[in-house]
């Protein structure tokens, strides 16, 4: 019993200390914004490896998610004779929910894990330590550009996801299933509010971007400098990101859309 209490206590203290470390680390990263702006070339390279390289998976997923949504929605709605609302169903679910969440999950799998592995490997091969000895702060030189690149690109990718999802949903709904063009768009336009739905969807994705990249870079920076440590950090990065995104999504949805 005493032993159990002891391990639980140690675990809690460990968790708290990690959380504290992560917060201090985040603070340092945010201070690195200045260094990021001073080196636009480095930043563009990170935007490329974090954003552009994730674009393909985002586009393909969006196409399929939009098509599936449209098909499933049609099958359900047609029983009630309400297939004109298909556009509304596809667009609202993509904008409020699926766009931000799926993009964040895909992003953490594609870019987040790569960030963790890259930073973890740099730590394991003493590249970060050698930078420190060259009087270059690796948090500002290596971590900060990656963090801000993630923070900017995920919302952009999310917007692309939403738009492509809706258009591919339109293709399936209108061209294949024969829902009337006009009502598909007009139902959507009359109910989707730019300020309420789209802006809130984008806010969600900004929050997710912040959390997912924070977890990714911290896991990499905090990884044990061994091959086992790096692989564990990479797994943790994806798992924690997914849990954080889904939990935050519930809170944000409750805050944003529940008064309807």
């Amino acid at each position: 019993m005493l032993n159990f209490l002891q391990t639980t206590g140690a675990h809690i203290i460990d968790t708290l200390s990690n959380l504290g470390k992560a917060t201090l680390f985040l603070f340092n990263v945010l201070l690195g914004l200045k260094d990021v702006l001073l080196r636009p070339k480095v930043f563009v390279r990170e935007l490329y490896s974090v954003g552009v390289l994730s674009m393909l998976i985002i586009i393909f997923s969006a196409i399929f998610v939009g098509m599936v949504m449209s098909l499933l929605g049609y099958i359900t709605l047609v029983d009630f004779g309400a297939e004109e609302s298909l556009g509304l169903l596809v667009s609202l679910s993509l904008i409020r929910e699926l766009g931000p969440v799926l993009s964040a999950l895909l992003f953490s799998g594609r870019a987040g894990s790569a960030l963790t592995a890259e930073i973890g490997l740099m730590k394991a091969t003493e590249q970060l330590a050698s930078m420190e000895m060259m009087a270059v702060d690796p948090v500002r030189r290596i971590i900060a550009p990656r963090f801000f690149a993630g923070l900017i690109t995920l919302p952009i990718l999310t917007i692309i996801f939403m738009a492509i999802g809706i258009y591919s949903g339109y293709l399936v709904g209108s061209v294949w299933l024969g829902v009337d063009d006009g009502s598909f768009w007009s139902q959507m336009q009359s109910k989707v509010e730019f300020r309420h739905d789209i802006v809130n969807g984008i806010i969600k994705s900004v929050v997710f971007a912040f959390v997912v990249t924070w977890i990714a870079v911290f896991q990499g920076y905090n990884a044990m400098p061994t091959s086992e440590g790096v692989s564990r950090a990479t797994t943790n990065s994806v798992v924690y990101s997914a849990l954080a995104v889904l939990a935050l999504d519930f809170i944000l949805t409750a805050l944003m859309f529940s008064n309807f």
Partner: protein
């Protein structure tokens, strides 16, 4: 002492409260000389370099480099002090996404606003010193272990440090490269007027170039002196370490209970 560049006094350090790495290490590193810190594996020789570089802080005691108390410096001053230090890591620690040239140019680009032609001159000079001027466009992944270490050496001296630290510079090299590195460390120390600290457990190579050797064991400096003095030391421990005898004051066996009893216990 005015002629020592680094002076470490009564340093205690531990990763966790149960295992102390240092229990009062004191040592002086004289300016312009090559000092070697030797000792069995796992005694925290590399940790000592990290303390000097300010990457770790001791639990108590003082670490002074050129009169500055390293553990007490704030971030900015610490980074300034580090510009006067160079460190050669065991793995080389080259930045994998930059070419050899860019790796060596990296510290200059980070700290100074030099023109491209000035940077080129400095980098080529340093590469010539280590004999790799022709390899400037290669990527680190295309280099052999020995070449990596030479490039890392060129990078470490590019800011003209006062103090050079070598972390296990002799491990894992073929005999020819080993000879090159030994000569390079010696030559650099003379021609650039450096103060060098070598952490190693390779007796032969280290003794051939070191002016001063400290042997670290179980958290303290157990012996210090010139290589000749240590070779002729009558301390059993030093004799065991220098001559590589398997058993002696440094036990072959990890502490364990009675052997017979241990075997008998297994029968139950």
């Amino acid at each position: 002492m005015s002629d020592s560049l680094v002076s470490i006094r009564d340093v205690h350090f531990s990763w966790n409260p149960r295992r102390e790495i240092y229990t009062g290490v004191s040592l002086e590193i004289p300016e312009g000389k090559i000092t070697a810190i030797m000792g069995p594996s796992g005694t925290g020789k590399t940790t000592l370099l990290r303390l000097i570089g300010g990457q770790l802080r001791p639990s108590s005691g003082s670490v002074q480099v050129a009169g500055e108390e390293i553990p007490k410096l704030n971030r900015e001053k610490l980074y300034k002090a580090r510009r006067r230090m160079g460190m050669l890591f065991q793995s080389g620690a080259l930045l994998t996404d930059l070419s050899v040239f860019e790796n060596i140019a990296f510290p200059i680009r980070e700290h100074y606003d030099f023109t491209e032609s000035m940077i080129r001159d400095i980098v080529l000079m340093k590469l010539e010193l280590v004999g790799l001027r022709g390899a400037r466009d290669l990527m680190p992944s295309e280099l052999s272990g020995g070449m990596k270490r030479r490039v890392a050496l060129a990078r470490a001296i590019v800011l003209d440090p006062l103090l050079m630290m070598y972390d296990e510079p002799f491990t894992g090299l073929d005999p020819v490269t080993l000879g090159t590195i030994v000569t390079l460390i010696k030559e650099l120390n003379e021609s650039l007027g450096l103060t060098s600290v070598i952490v190693s457990h390779d007796i032969r190579e280290t003794f051939s170039i070191a002016d001063h050797v400290c042997i670290l064991s179980e958290g303290i400096i157990v012996a210090a002196g010139s290589p000749e003095e240590l070779m002729n030391s009558d301390s059993e421990f030093v004799q065991q370490f220098v001559n590589g005898k398997p058993d002696g004051p440094m036990p072959f066996h990890y502490p364990a209970g009675d052997y017979t009893q241990d075997l008998l216990d297994g029968d139950i």
